[in-house]
Amino acid sequence: MAQVRVTVDGVNYADDVEPRTLLVHYLRERLGKTGTLVGCDTSNCGACTVHLNGQSVKSCSVLAVQADGGEVLTIEGLARDGKLHPMQEAFNEHHALQCGYCTPGMIMQAVDLLGDNPDPDEREVREGIEGNLCRCTGYQNIVRAVQSAAQKMKPGAAADTPAPASVAGGGN
């Protein structure tokens, strides 16, 4: 057993885990963070994407112990004080999800993308999320949503939307 101390969505945890435990299984099975999903066993689908220390990672390709001392943000911690993150709003507004299974990972990846590139063009969005597979939407509305969120999150775009860095830690 190995010790892991980690902050997830603002709560501190200290647990003994089997050294081989993947972060995604730790999140789901130990912490009940079932909003983060598993879609594959080869790190291809991105359904499990979370932020670790401000950067998006596929939590199926990180060991829980590698997150030791770190800070994890999952889809469940993205909304603040009952207010949705602009990316979550944009996914709803632009019908960027159908079954919703890719959605948590897709949103976390998209937030990270905007941290790196606050104003991506269509191609940049497509390439920025190509590690996240969606079988339902054909991606078009996801791309729309990400670009629309980017506009809303621009500094000064709307007073009440949080800046991306403060919410997601960005990717920088």
């Binding site: 359904a47 889809i75 159908q98 509305n141």
Partner: protein, 830 residues
């Protein structure tokens, strides 16, 4: 209390509004419950030990090491569980003499495909079960795999199921000459062959094997800790699963409850009754603990049913002036090793669609289903109809080439003109409505068809290394499965009706239950819009309940673009009954005659007066039940079961502009335009989303995806590394629009949209690819038309050797994503 009906502004109708979805609030915040998130206290986990071989005798199973492994409760074979004689159901015996093998929960003496279960491990955790499964030692004696359909039918072929005496499952025929719905195809072909002014065009097309690849792996939890055995399952068909579980396992139907919680996509891939589900039932009953199964992605690729996999031999006859005179279709369809729930019927669903939108005087369809030692096939988005549409749209292009005609003009010459609807086709179906001219005119304009044809000319003239192709698909499909009597005539084992209930709550809110169980389609939003309009209540006041046989006890679930067209109409019929009951109470309370009441925007008013009662007030009156008519029960609630009398027939025109780099073979989809007629649109946002997603899957068949087996019968695309689903970087933005000729077969005028994009897009792309290359001598390219296949076809057409280049079957599709083969240094490493 009587309200005075004030002259209010009529609320704008909900139907047609681009409402954002109700269901999203949970899904975008992670407040979800997909089956794998359900783990009652004390749950045991299973892992299935699967055969690595396609065809082998099982000589022995040594469980000892696994059984002693930490956390293991038990290791079981079929014999250990006493389930050797249990067979999973096939609900569609397409012919009376159809050959059907027993499909066991676990193979006992022989395995018939790589991935078939041989034993099951039960342990405290999923990880312990998986570890122990590796320790189960199975002794196999390898048998020859059966992989090629034609070889499987040949004399002396190795038999997949020797007890059946053949590898042929069944042959099913539709013959317009016999049925009296058209001429005899033999006559049409003979006439065309004898006539110098006619042509006969024969082609063979291959529908490669596809994997549905829903993003949520399949999962179930069976909980025996109540009076009813509760099955949570990632399924499209909770109601069918309930009935079939009881039939399969010999249980009492009233003792089983099935819940489909959040379901992460299906596309036909989750309509099955699974061996793993039945194993969990058997184990939960045996061990008296909740038992859970969640497959890995690799297991899903290997063992969940696949789709398509047909060889299509198509003959079309026509006069030299372009008039089509006959169509002969002969299919071989790979069933895999066993029959799925509706597997043998999938090609039959396509039979009626080969004549598509055209007036074809003679049609014969015959399909032979074949057993092989591969994963079984069953429904995948479109189920039979994409194959039919591909064949007819490809052969129309081939005919156009043969006749030297513009492919669009040839289609126009042969399609059913709008003034001839309703039109009874050579397959015996009656198309109620449609306007092919309108959809096509709009698509051609959005696409700039003439401009692109000019550019194509220019590129050909200049020998441009990048050639342009224009692909057309003018399609129709039959949706809304299905009229029960018709299903009966096709020997299907159930009906095609759907059920709904409407409950008026005391506070005026509305609960609606539907038997159509969604997995991403947005039923809650679309059905709420319908009810809000019909009942005159706010959208927000309507709750749509589904997916639990205790909540919505009756239903036939979701597949075949049926939810709206059948399930939505059932809701309308139930609302009609509520309004009829409310009218009686309103008349009673208003002391008026029912005939004098008008119902609009949720309020009954007495004609010519200002007296009225809102539906909510009447619901409350029925609840307190202090004052209501004597000849009725104090309730507005109503149930309805709707059995459609016809299919619905969405149609559309899809156009693709495809650029091909003739030096590398790379196919670039530059532009995609489609104009679909899906009848009345309830929610344009949802319709557009369904079209996008459908397009992505259809385009993926044309360009990226294929499930391949090696000579040993091993699936070589067993992960998402090798089975290349398109990513965002592989697809363009689509230019979509809708036109609407309302269906006349249902009160909403709706036609269904779930499968349209998938059905239409595959031939549009392949027609485009060939259109770009035909002048170079390329005649055909099998799907998926990957860079390598395109490059090879060009080399071969030009008489150049391709011998030095090995065929890459392991990753044939290879959506290259952001990787630009011409500028490898720009590769982005994710």
């Amino acid at each position: 209390m009587t309200t005075t009906a004030e002259p209010t502004t009529t609320p704008s109708p909900e139907v047609g509004k681009a409402r954002v979805r109700k269901e999203d609030a949970r899904l975008i915040t992670g407040r979800t419950r997909y089956t794998d998130a359900i783990t009652p206290q004390g749950t045991l986990h299973i892992h299935v030990v699967r055969s690595p071989l396609a065809h082998a005798k099982v000589l022995g199973v040594d469980k000892s090491e696994a059984a002693a492994s930490p956390g293991v409760i038990g290791v079981y074979t079929a014999a250990d569980l006493g389930v050797e004689s249990v067979g999973l159901p096939c609900a569609w015996p397409i012919t009376p003499d159809m050959k059907a093998p027993q499909r066991p929960l676990l193979a006992s003496s022989t395995v018939h495909f790589a991935g078939e279960g041989v034993a099951v491990v039960v342990a405290r955790s999923a990880a312990e079960a998986r570890d122990a499964a590796d320790l189960v030692d199975v002794d196999y004696e390898e048998l020859e795999p059966v992989l090629d359909m034609e070889a499987a039918l040949a004399e002396g072929a190795t038999l997949v199921h020797p007890d059946l005496g053949t590898n042929e499952n069944a042959t099913w025929v539709l013959d317009s000459g016999e049925a009296g719905t058209g001429g005899r195809i033999g006559d049409a072909i003979a006439a065309a062959e004898a006539d110098p002014d006619s042509v006969v065009v024969k082609r063979r097309f291959r529908q490669q094997r596809l994997i549905p690849a829903f993003m949520e792996p399949r999962s179930c939890v069976v909980d025996p800790s109540g009076e009813q055995l509760t099955i949570y399952a990632a399924t499209q068909v909770p109601h069918i699963l309930r009935t079939m579980t009881t039939v399969t396992m010999g249980l009492n139907e009233s003792k089983v409850r099935v819940i489909a919680p959040d379901v992460g996509g299906g596309f036909g891939g989750k309509i099955g009754v699974l061996p793993e589900e039945m194993l969990c039932v058997a184990l939960a009953n045996k061990l008296r603990r909740p038992v859970k199964w969640t497959e890995t992605r690799s297991e899903s690729m290997l063992a969940a049913h696949h789709g398509r996999d047909q060889i299509q031999d198509i003959t079309i006859t026509a006069k030299r002036d372009g008039t089509v005179t006959g169509l002969d279709v002969h299919l071989l369809a790979d069933m895999g090793a066993y029959l799925g729930l509706v597997g043998p019927g999938v090609p039959i669903l396509g039979a009626f669609m080969y004549n598509a939108i055209y007036k074809i005087p003679a049609l014969k369809f015959s399909c032979t289903n074949v057993f092989t030692t591969k994963t079984l096939t069953d429904a995948y988005r479109g189920a039979g109809r994409p194959e039919a549409t591909f064949a007819i749209e490809r052969i129309m292009d081939e005919l156009a080439v043969e006749l030297g005609r513009d492919p669009m003009d040839l289609r126009k010459q042969n399609w059913i003109p709008h003034e001839e609807f309703p039109f009874t086709t050579v397959a015996g179906l009656t198309y109620d409505s449609g306007n092919y001219e309108q959809a096509t005119a709009q698509a051609v304009e959005m696409f700039d068809y003439d401009g692109l044809r000019r550019e194509q000319e220019e590129r050909r003239r200049n020998n441009d290394p990048v050639q342009l192709g224009i692909g057309i698909s003018t399609f129709t499909e039959m949706c809304g499965i299905a009229p029960s009597r018709l299903l009966g005539s096709l020997s299907y084992g159930a009906g095609g009706w759907e059920a709904a209930s409407v409950r008026m709550l005391a506070t005026g809110k509305v609960e609606v239950t539907t038997g159509a169980s969604p997995h991403g389609q947005g039923h809650e939003t679309a059905f709420s819009q319908i009810v809000a309009d019909q009942l005159g209540v706010p959208f927000e006041d309507v709750e749509i309940l589904h997916g639990d046989t205790q909540v919505s006890p009756k239903g036939l679930d979701t597949y075949g673009s049926r939810s709206l067209v059948v399930g939505g109409i059932a809701v309308v019929k139930a609302v009609d009954k509520v309004i009829a009951k409310a009218r009686k109470i309103a008349a009673h309370l208003l002391e008026a005659s029912e005939d004098d009441l008008e119902f609009a925007d949720g309020t009954f008013t007495v004609r010519g007066t200002d007296k009225g009662k809102a539906i909510q007030e009447i619901a409350f009156a029925a609840f307190v039940a202090h004052d209501y008519p004597e000849d009725m029960e104090p309730s507005l609630d109503a149930d309805a079961v709707y059995d459609p009398e016809n299919f619905s027939y969405p149609h559309g025109t899809h156009l693709a502009a495809v650029e091909i780099d003739t030096e590398t073979g790379r196919v670039h989809l530059r532009k995609y335009v489609c104009v679909d007629d899906v009848g009345t649109v309830i929610n344009p946002l949802i319709v557009e989303g369904q079209v996008h997603g459908g397009l992505a899957q259809g385009i993926a068949q044309a360009l990226f995806e294929e499930a391949n087996y090696d000579e040993q019968g091993t699936l070589v695309n067993g992960t998402l590394v090798d089975y290349t689903l398109p990513s965002a970087a592989d697809l363009p933005n689509f230019d979509t629009a809708v036109v609407s000729t309302p269906a006349t077969s249902n009160p909403l005028g709706v036609k269904g949209v779930g499968e349209a994009g998938t059905i239409a897009s595959t031939p549009a792309i392949v027609n485009g690819v060939l259109d770009a290359l035909r002048h170079l001598g390329v005649r055909d390219i099998e799907m998926p038309t990957t860079s390598q296949r395109v490059w090879r076809a060009i080399q071969e057409a030009q008489g150049r050797s391709t011998q030095q280049t090995p065929v890459d079957t392991h990753s044939p599709g290879a959506g290259l994503g952001s990787i630009d083969p011409n500028n490898p240094q720009e590769e982005e490493v994710q």
